[in-house]
């Protein structure tokens, strides 16, 4: 136990600053947005994830958001276990036909007001999987989408940007493509 405490102390605080929202001119407003997240959501913007058929690459980057470097809790954002506790729905993957119904139900279970972030190239358009006997295509085919975050997979920073952009209200509906 003492070893663990020593290690925690020696690493110190690793949390990094929040990324700017999109478009860039809004970056000056990050603080403002964070303040409004804190005000409206009482330090708890509830985020729920539905994997609607992803390859699990996008999930890995959503997990990475929980790395201490991103200081998610500091931004007042947390992942919640039930759609009924959620404000934002993150959806990954092209929507598989087998997940279409479950996705709709989860969306319906979230109390209004609610925002949907379609994650990744798959969430945006169906990506490489396109549309087929097994896949419906992008998320907006099934439920209304607030913001799309392209990338394969989008980095945690971009995901955070997408979440902040969605709640900022004056959102464009897609972040620009992920720079290489």
């Amino acid at each position: 136990m003492a070893g663990l405490l020593r290690q925690i102390l020696s690493l110190g605080l690793l949390g990094e600053a929040l990324p700017p929202t999109q478009p860039e001119w809004m970056s000056a407003e990050v603080d403002h947005i964070q303040q409004s997240v804190l005000r409206h959501f009482g330090r708890s913007l509830g985020v729920r994830l539905v994997d609607a058929g992803s390859c699990n690459g996008c999930e890995l980057e959503i997990h990475a958001l929980n790395s201490p470097q991103y200081n998610l809790a500091g931004a007042g954002i947390r992942f919640v276990a039930s759609p009924r506790h959620a404000d934002i729905l993150l959806v990954t993957g092209p929507v598989s036909r087998h997940m279409e119904e479950a996705l709709k139900r989860t969306y319906d279970a979230i109390p209004a007001p609610k925002w949907v972030v379609a994650v990744g190239d798959c969430g945006a358009t169906g990506g490489l999987f396109g549309e087929s006997y097994a896949v419906c295509g992008g998320v907006s085919r099934i439920i209304p989408v607030t913001v799309t975050v392209p990338g394969c997979p989008p980095s945690p920073l971009r995901l955070l940007q997408g979440i902040l952009t969605a709640v900022s209200g004056s959102a464009p509906n897609s972040l620009p493509p992920q720079p290489e």
Binding site: M1, G3, L4, Q7, I8, L11, L14, L49, V50, D51, A52, G53, S54, C55, N56, G57, C58, E59, L60, E61, I62, H63, A64, N66, S67, P68, Q69, F79, A81, S82, G93, P94, S96, R97, H98, M99, E101, A102, T106, G127, L128, F129, G130, S132, Y133, A134, V135, C136, C152, P153, S155, E180
Partner: protein
């Protein structure tokens, strides 16, 4: 005794792994399978292909592992039926059901004929992998699934999923419990079925390589390498040595990245949040290095047919070497800390046990298999370049519980660190790409020990060099039934911990 020596129709496949391929009669299939089983071999995969355009029928395809390497049998079927293999290899059961859902071939003598990856989006009379398949429009409605009912005094059922509380892939788990004890778990998977194999039909190799990297995002290097290997076997293409060394470097980096992440989640599920943070700090740093050196945090699209995309930039090797020292030290400290932590050990020890005899019967593979005394590791048994130079030490345990799977992960991190050091010091200088000739008709196989276990790919190209059939196999397909075994007799709240200790892929099994 049926050995290849007396069957001239089985011939070696060119390429990086010891593999043989040939045509056998359906009447010989069971005898051959039994021989392999008796000699301690395993079933890697069972699938099928529509060959009506060329030979007038369907082929059953079976990949086995024996002491000489990979044995791929193509079995022309005179009808739509073939003899089931599940009594010889239990992992055949779900593969047979999948094959029926996708191609309409019937396993004679099989006990379970329920659909597996078909949930109703297409009907029981439509078979997507037939070349003349027309997608139903509109798609069909989802059908109810006949779960096996468990009855008895005090037994009740808990259905979970497909959408789960955490950040995990979708699947359905049906627990039959008495009080908190699990009597039985039945999995229902197939929710992320994306029709990958159909999608691949007619693709050129470049697009196929992108798709291969997305079978299961956490194993992108393993699937890319196995697919490239299969294509290179058909094209008789030898990637330059440096490219092979870089591939191995990427594969070991992927292994460490995944083990770090899983160990973090195992701490989390055991109630030690600080442990989660420590491992995920390391993982995040590791991914950032990958972004910097290879331009992708998860190492997607690094491997091409005939080579690799990126070299290490001049300081890349120096940087990675320094990083290895840091990671090794911190992982050792965390290992000591977990071993001393009574609360964590209490959760890990004897939880979710798969005994070695059970593991052997089910043909369990990969890191979970090694934790249950199944000593299979392609890097040891059939090492390709550069593993043939480095005498990989396999990590095995025999207790088969969560603690054993944790132990194997720690040991594999240390072994991968050793391998990475070796690669960084000894990496030969050469080009990164061999020119890829125009495609040609043929069949090839790839077989790579990914972090979760062996990843297998079978590839058939047509005369124009386009994909005729591509069949990627994640080790999860074989190991999922063992999760059902591991939870028995445990309490429901231990399920997340047990499930995480395997960390199987849903996307990789659903395809």
């Amino acid at each position: 005794m049926t050995r290849d020596d007396d069957t001239p129709e089985i011939t070696p496949l060119a390429g990086a792994i010891p593999a043989r391929h040939g045509i056998v009669a359906v009447s010989d299939l069971r005898a051959r399978s039994l021989t392999v089983k008796e000699q301690g071999g395993r079933l890697i995969s069972l699938w099928g292909s529509d060959e009506r355009a060329t030979t007038g029928g369907y082929h059953l395809q079976v990949a086995l592992s024996d002491s000489d390497g990979l044995l791929w049998l193509s079995v022309p079927l005179p009808s739509l039926a073939y003899p089931a293999l599940e009594d010889i290899f239990p992992n055949a059961a779900r593969m047979q059901r999948t094959l029926h859902d996708l191609l309409g071939l019937h396993p004679e003598g099989a006990r379970d004929l329920r659909p597996w990856v078909r949930h109703g989006a297409w009907s029981a009379h439509d078979f997507p992998l037939r070349k003349d398949f027309v997608p139903p429009c509109p798609a069909g409605r989802l059908e109810d699934y006949p779960f096996v009912a468990v009855t008895g005094q005090g037994v009740h059922e808990i259905p979970v999923g497909p959408v789960h509380a955490g950040i995990i892939e979708p699947g359905h788990f049906r627990f039959a419990v008495v009080g908190e004890r699990v009597l039985r778990l039945e999995e229902r998977l197939g929710y992320t079925h994306k029709g990958l194999e159909k999608r691949a039909e007619g693709m050129d190799l470049d697009t196929l390589m992108r798709l291969a990297g997305r079978v299961s995002g956490d194993s992108t290097v393993a699937f890319s390498w196995a697919t490239a290997m299969a294509a290179e076997s058909i094209l008789a293409l030898k990637p330059p040595p440096r490219a092979l060394w870089i591939r191995a470097l990427l594969l070991e980096r992927e292994r460490i990245a995944q083990h770090l992440g899983d160990l973090g989640y195992l701490c989390n599920d055991a109630g030690l949040a600080a442990g989660f943070s420590q491992f995920w700090i390391l993982r995040e740093e590791w991914l950032r290095t990958q972004q910097q050196i290879f331009g992708h945090r998860l190492l997607m699209d690094q491997i091409t047919v005939g080579g690799v995309e990126h070299d290490l930039y001049p300081d890349g090797a120096v940087e990675m070497t320094a990083e290895l020292g840091r990671v090794e030290l911190r992982v050792r400290q965390l290992d000591d800390m977990l071993q001393e932590h009574a609360g964590v050990q209490d959760r890990f020890l004897s939880t979710g046990r798969v005994k070695p005899d059970m593991a052997a019967r089910f043909g369990m593979i990969g890191l979970a298999g090694r934790a249950s005394a199944q000593a299979w590791d392609l890097r040891v048994q059939f090492p390709s370049v550069p593993y043939d130079h480095c005498d990989v030490r396999m990590a095995t345990q025999s207790s088969g519980d969560v603690a054993a799977r944790v132990r194997v992960r720690f040991e594999e991190i240390h072994e991968s660190v050793r391998l990475l050091r070796h690669f960084l010091v000894r990496m030969p200088h050469s080009a990164l790409q061999t020119h890829c000739p125009p495609g040609c008709k043929g069949s090839g196989a790839g077989w790579v020990e990914g972090w979760r276990g062996e990843v297998f790919v079978a590839l058939q190209l047509d005369a124009g060099g386009k994909v005729q059939r591509w069949h990627p196999v994640d080790p999860s397909t074989t190991n999922w039934p063992l999760v059902e075994q591991a939870i028995m007799g445990n309490i429901v709240p231990d399920f997340p911990l047990i499930n995480k200790s395997f960390n199987l892929s849903y996307s990789g099994q659903d395809l």
